[in-house]
């Protein structure tokens, strides 16, 4: 089953067309990394999935549900980690989790998310206001909110930024566990280490479109040969620029 299907999506901010026909598919159980320099449209694509930007053209399906036609139903399958600066500073971590759980129409706050909060050593911050949190602590809350409700598609934008190594490892393990349970992860990142060690597939975005995709076999080959993914991506980036 496709956890995410993006077909020829175009989006613009005013006159500037940021996405110029992006297409990608992420199957259930896959960790998909979206790479690319700043300003090429990675976050815009994620914002389209969250409903913050309305595409001018194209189709997006989350867990086979068309986002434009049944936004409410499609969003029930979506776990989106917002940017840390979009968290409400005057709410406590506990209130954020409660509000998000109700907004996702859950009967309870997941035990798995509470266990994850414990593992990330976040529970001591639960009753403090978000505006007193450090970047790393905010990042943990963003991730916890995204994981609420067993979403079939987990969308993360630079979610490892600001996390300490132990928390980053805990999050990677949790994402792997969710992948085994059938969820899919879409991660926009600059961290090539994650692509090299954890991703099933990856794509490079340049100028508002996907210019190269690495399939599972390609990534496995790079890993087996002990190859340098950084060199591979730089080479593809240069080709993309020249094209």
């Amino acid at each position: 089953m496709n956890a995410l299907e993006v077909i020829e999506v175009h989006a613009r901010y005013g006159k500037h067309e940021v996405l110029q026909g992006v297409s990608l598919r992420v199957r259930a159980g896959q960790w998909f990394c979206l790479l690319g320099p700043n300003g090429v449209g990675k976050s815009t694509l994620l914002h389209c999935l969250a409903g913050r930007v309305v595409p001018t053209q194209g189709t997006m399906r989350i867990a086979e549900v068309n986002l434009a036609e049944s936004a409410e139903l499609a969003k029930r399958h979506l776990g989106f980690a917002c940017a840390p600066d979009q968290l409400p500073g005057l709410l406590t971590g506990r209130q954020c989790l409660e509000v998000y759980a109700l907004a996702k129409q859950l009967p309870t706050v997941d035990d798995q998310v509470l266990a994850m909060a414990e593992a990330l050593r976040f529970t001591t911050y639960l009753d403090q206001f978000v505006d007193t949190y450090s970047l790393g602590t905010r990042q943990k809350l963003c991730v916890l909110l995204a994981l609420l409700g067993q979403p079939q598609l987990i969308v993360l934008d630079e979610a490892f930024n600001g996390l300490d190594p132990r928390s980053a490892l805990t999050l990677k393990q949790e994402l792997k566990r969710r992948l085994h349970e059938g969820a899919a992860v879409l991660l926009a990142t600059h961290s090539l280490d994650i692509v090299e060690h954890h991703a099933d597939r990856a794509a490079l975005m340049m100028g508002g479109r996907i210019v190269h995709e690495w399939q599972e076999a390609d990534l496995a080959a790079i890993r087996q040969s002990g190859g340098d993914f950084e060199a591979a991506i730089v080479a593809v980036s240069e080709e993309g620029r020249e094209a």
């Binding site: 969003k75 406590t92 209130q95 509000v99 206001f129 505006d131």
Partner: protein, 278 residues
Amino acid sequence: MATPISPRAFSILSALRIAVDLVLLVAALTAALLAFGLTNDLPVQILWTAAGGVALGVFAGAAIGSIWPLKREAKRSEESRFVRKARARAMKPSLAGLSHWPIAKAIAWHRPEHSRVLFILAALSVPMGASALLGIAILAVWTLASYLLAIVRAVPVVAREASVWLRPTALPFGSFARSIGIRALLHQACGTALLGSVFVLLGAHVGDVFYFSSLWLGITAMIGIIAIRQSYLSLPSFGRMLFSVLVVLITESRVRGFGLPLAVVVTGFHLRSVRERT
């Protein structure tokens, strides 16, 4: 410190900046006091004694304030410093946090570094020779009016921030609007009732107070609903709010008593149209 300024030079600069602020504050208060006293034929000696008292109070208060809050509040950032925390309890899905948010915003805006300006203005607006009761009533009017205006402003700000934060979820408009709007409207209604009571105590006619209170509540509810609706639909709200308020006020100024029903109609229209769009 990441700049090539020595800590000593930085401390001196900070002290100078604070001292200049304090001197300007004392000078402004003294000038206002002298201007008022001299035009009302008060003895100069009393005025200078009062000015000296003001200066002493400002500098002593600044000295105490520079030590005390740093020790107590070092761990808490500015915005949430005076916001009351919800009682910790077992976690369960709830929109209570969302409904507290506009109130928290209004309280955060009223933290001392902002509201001290309000209190200076309020204190200066108390007429010389007024009774203690009148003085307290005037201070209460300023405080309540400021709080009510802060809530009016907080609803659109919170609606915009909350809509961005909750956009990836499937929260329906009804729940979104209720949770942001109802508690703010309740505070608005209680505050307006209190303010009206103060005006009645000051001698205003009960009928007039009731009429203006109702009109105020109608307009604030209309502003709130427009802001919440527009934010939920990711549309700009300021122009629409301004236009609606102007239309209501112009209608009211032409035909007394028509403003409130018009505000109710505009509110209903916005509630209905969002249901159609979603």
